[in-house]
Symmetry: D2
Subunit: 401 residues, 4 copies
């Protein structure tokens, strides 16, 4: 992950001897993978004190947890923890009087908002879901420190959400089920960056794709990208595999379950396990059986027929639970943004504290920096505008007709 | 073009009896195609008086010019006019004391800025190039009326620039040359919406694609979309076909010409014929021969070898000169935005006149309206958010973990 | 077309001074395009006397006809000739006592079979349709000379039928209609090499594709290639555009016409204008109007609704009538096979005359030769098997476990 | 796997009471996966006595071995057995006086040929490699019983080799390495059905693909399919990932290792671990380290630089070792052919025994049967030729011009 290394080196060079990061306490809530370990290692080696908890009860890799503990990081997580354990660890991380919060999904920010602490002077979050929650906290006056929505970095959402999730969701789907994608009809709910990425990769492996959307422009894009666009109530009747990529709740719900064909597969790619209404699904199920490690078979009786529905990972994010999450080539971009955002919060602390709106726009200079690091990391050499071209770019005398 | 029809109907319903459009004078500078005829017809039938000139000396379709003249529209254009004729017609259109300017590329806005008239109270332009020029005029204080950058509508640039130009550029390339695209190495300069669209369609017909870019993020996108990313000085040595999609000048210039392989094809998809430095190319050419209707063969001696370079349409926009421009399914979106922007300028005349900045952001309500019309026009039915989902979309209590 | 040039050079080198081709009379029935002109020129310059007629009433390019006449070739064809003229020219070419027949579609072979002449000592045909007809003639004892089915060359059908027709059919469709392919539902009837090629290119431009087939294995291939596979009676209800690629009759017939949506487009990519049952279509039509150069609008009343159907080129092959046929890069392969087959027939005349079966397998040495010429023509350098690898290729002791 | 079930049912219905299969001894050498278990179960339930050994020392799944043993099948295999154990089990299976041999790769046939037994009256093999070896045995007079090359079934090689290996090779590659495929340059050696399938899927996930080939026609296909075609000595210098799909030895060898970039990945998709010359690779390596479960890092010093090469699965077939082999949707086709071939050998025993050539063409009636079962299994309904169309298909009077 050279891009993260470049970011760390940049900070290291900047901070010099009076390291402003030294001794600051960070509570971090992240999916605990080998890539996360590298970010945590960077933060730690820059002098920050880390308390790390999981961003999902099922996504922690236990060997990474051990590794980080051995390195002297406080980690409170393990794969397959209960929801109570999971929530409790987040609450404890919030209550530990952090100076900074680094989050993935917003659970830690929300938990901190529920405390009366005033220790925290800045936070970050790297997901679409987390950004939505930070915005909601800000609107209701509950965000008490400046927060950077890392997902809004171009070098984050254009890459992580599209290429990272695209590959890892397909990877998770194949590992979980062992099925052939060629010839299947895959329904992708949501055509944001994540849905776009997943649709493209699934098609790349030979599936036909149906897209469902609530946004008119994204619907038209999906259609002109060559996908069939349907309402979920129609897609439910014909799909072989369903993947939710919306950030919404109940995208596939009890009104759809009864329409499904026998043997369909339901998986979720979104942050929360609420996109498929699993509560209703289990309630409607006559029989539930775990048929592969990450696959539950649920028998439904509906409309006079018995059919089987296969649910992946209890409705939790398929790329992190059934596969290993995003590839390192992608995570380095997201984490370089996280790392530089933490540094930005520390070095701009006073200036940011004065602002009324707490959720600040993503600093474009970080995006620029990460994109330059990325060019180098990916080994790309690109053209530069000449002086004449730069002038032309802002001139109205262009066009010799 | 039902989307344009819906827009016209919407306006017709709104204006009622005291038609505020009646008798207003519009100078329009557009590529004169059958789709344009429908827009002009709509404007005309809504009571506007139109003076239409060409947006490119080579792009006018003479039968459409005749048709519009017969309908009583003032049209001053013909296919293959000289640059002098072309410029003169624009100047005359600017000097005709228009109330409104409808432009494609900004030539008419620039021509009006050079007059001392104060007749015009609003303008539009539908291209990236035009937007850049309007911005430059505005910055230098020479834009004297509110102008709407139609290209910034999502329902314009996401569709017209990508799918419209994507198909029509490939169409123009094949009609001009008759060559097989499968197996060719095509160099696409620029990976904005236009470059993205063209790259995708060219690949869809079996070409390998090399992308050149000056923007780091677009370069990374191109790489992860599966294209090779090179500097033009390297791409020049290996490409079979070159298509410029940048909005810049001299993207392929004399430093590149001498590196080209024998028999390569140079075409431009951008608005102006400046992306390939044709002046230098003709100056360097030992012999020039018109080998097909839209193909000039130029023999160069360079680096001790003689090689032939084939230039399409004298470097002018390949999809409009060698083919018929964008398909109507796409143009209806762009033109519905144009039409509703004209109506917006008239109905918000006073309010807009008070604003200091003249280049205004594209009105989102027009984008929303066009996207709804487009759903209907394309026959799409999509899901709607439930109340519960709408609430969830702005809530921080999401995520049951 | 360097591959054709290499083939001509090869023959020229072989024939030496006593040219066995000199003065032999060839009757040729081909689509008269610029590529055909090059083949005819090669045959002519090798000493053969050519009489050329058209392979389709609508596919002749008049400037090429003039050019060939000026070169001293007997050409009897013009674009848009009547069916009577067309048939008569073929009959005359058959009756002209040819030594050899070079055909595309089999019309000339069938016409010759109906004469009582014994002048002809060999023939070729380059299409699937022609091969089927030659086989039928042979079975019924009516093929009186050895004939080479050029379509069976790998260097012909793998390239011409797939990549050549793939691009040129899409080109013809766009030129004829001007429509956007992105987002359309295109029904491809037949998934042989032609259907495979057309489906791939249409998808490459953003269409969804439905395939209809009668062969189980091809149907499964289509499904696993990511297309929807339906019976025509179901596809008829949902398609926007239909392209027949089967070599069969009545693939879209009166039972389907009444199921079509309003505004659909019907085109044919097969050799004969019998794949869409145009006779029934015109009979069922209430009104017929030519709305673009190659598009007829036919109004049907069926099932209580009036709908419009747009027929391309009167049901004749869309890539030759609306576009310029295959690109030269492809035709050079097919025509090199034709040229070398003619030479083969002359040099193996005695030996072939003794064979009982007249339709002979395509000579593999020609295929090998053309593939070597093609490597050179396309500038490809490829690996060669080492001695050790050659031995391994036919050994049973492979596999060290 | 309904297709296999249909085949079993068909046989069960045919055999009636005097089951000719009952008690026959089958020695089978197959990759031991869950799909194989179903085939073995079918053979067993039809009355055959099975002795099963592994087709690769690393591909056996131990839980399946246990499951089959519990079912009463003789299985001699475990994952990670030594080459000595592996070979010994095959030799024992050959010596066990089988009536029939069912093989994957030909090891068992070769082992039997080295015995002097005359027990065996028929055999099958399902791979390209096995077919080559059977042909070599036959030519040298060492094949003493009729053998059916199952790979030659259209319902086998068109599906198993292309779609099955295509997906499972990509799956194995991602599981083994965890890397992002988007933006990588992947070199595919060999463009047969396997190489075609792998290239397509790798491209579908966003990689650029370079193909190396020794066959001119396949090279041209690869080029026109949009891949770059190079000699391995050039590809070696630029590739990020290499996958061999050739059935040859030493495709990547010591002359190439020294040209590789630092950090490249070498994997094999072919049957034998000889395509990458691993012996030379390990000999050239200064240091070897196992960095992930299936990835060895080998440090090479060559041309004055140290570089790391990552070898997957010791050069053994990546889709079986790092992933779970082909999906069941595909294996059912291959195994239905195996099952019906065994039945064919038994029911045609006498007739086949009389033939001189022992390697017989694949019986087309089995292919037809499996394709019909597959239509049903995949839920496809397709068109049938009408009487008129059937007649047309073999008529020379087609074409009304």
């Amino acid at each position: 992950m050279p891009v993260l290394t470049f970011a760390e080196k940049y900070i290291r060079k900047k901070i010099g001897k009076n390291n402003p990061l030294a001794g600051l306490k960070v509570s971090a809530c992240l999916h605990i993978s080998k890539e996360t370990a590298v970010l945590i290692h960077s933060l730690h080696s820059l002098g920050l004190e880390i308390r790390l908890v999981a961003a999902n009860p099922l996504s922690s890799q236990d060997d990474i947890v051990s590794f980080l503990s051995d390195e002297g990081i406080q980690v409170h997580a393990h794969k397959g923890e209960t929801v109570e354990e999971y929530n409790n660890e987040i609450v404890q991380a919030a209550k530990s009087r952090p100076d900074l919060i680094v989050d993935d999904g917003g659970d830690l920010h929300v938990a901190y908002a529920r405390t009366r602490l005033d220790s925290c002077f800045g936070g970050t979050d790297e997901t679409t879901s987390g950004t939505i929650r930070l915005r909601a906290l800000d609107k209701s006056g509950k965000l008490r420190y400046p927060a950077i929505p890392v997902n809004e970095a171009n070098t984050k959402h254009l890459f992580d959400n599209r290429y990272g999730t695209g590959q890892s969701a397909v990877d998770g789907l194949i590992r979980a089920t062992g099925l052939l994608l060629a010839g299947k009809l895959v329904v992708i709910a949501g055509y944001g960056w994540v849905g776009k990425g997943v649709a493209e990769k699934v098609r790349g492996l030979g599936s036909r794709v149906v897209v469902t959307e609530v946004d008119p422009i994204r619907s038209l894009e999906a259609k002109l990208d060559g996908y069939q666009v349907l309402q979920m109530s129609d897609a439910a009747k014909i799909g072989d595999i369903f993947l939710t990529c919306t950030g919404q709740i109940d995208v596939i719900n009890s009104s759809h379950f009864k329409l499904l064909k026998d043997g369909v597969i339901l998986g979720n790619v979104g942050h929360f396990n609420e996109e498929v209404d699993t509560r209703s699904l289990f309630r409607m199920g006559e029989r539930v059986e775990q048929v592969r490690e990450n696959v539950a078979k649920i028998e439904l009786k509906a409309l006079g027929k018995t059919r089987s529905v296969y649910l992946l990972n209890q409705g939790r994010v398929v790329n992190l639970v059934s596969a290993e999450g995003h590839p390192p080539e992608i995570m380095q971009l997201s984490f370089a943004n996280q790392l530089l955002s933490v540094y930005h919060l520390v070095t701009h602390r006073k200036e940011l504290a004065r602002k009324k709106e707490k959720l600040i726009p993503f600093p474009p200079e970080i995006d620029d920096m990460v994109s330059q690091f990325a060019l180098e990391g990916f080994g790309l050499k690109i053209d530069r505008l000449s002086k004449r071209q730069k002038k032309y770019a802002s001139s109205f005398t262009r066009g010799s007709a």
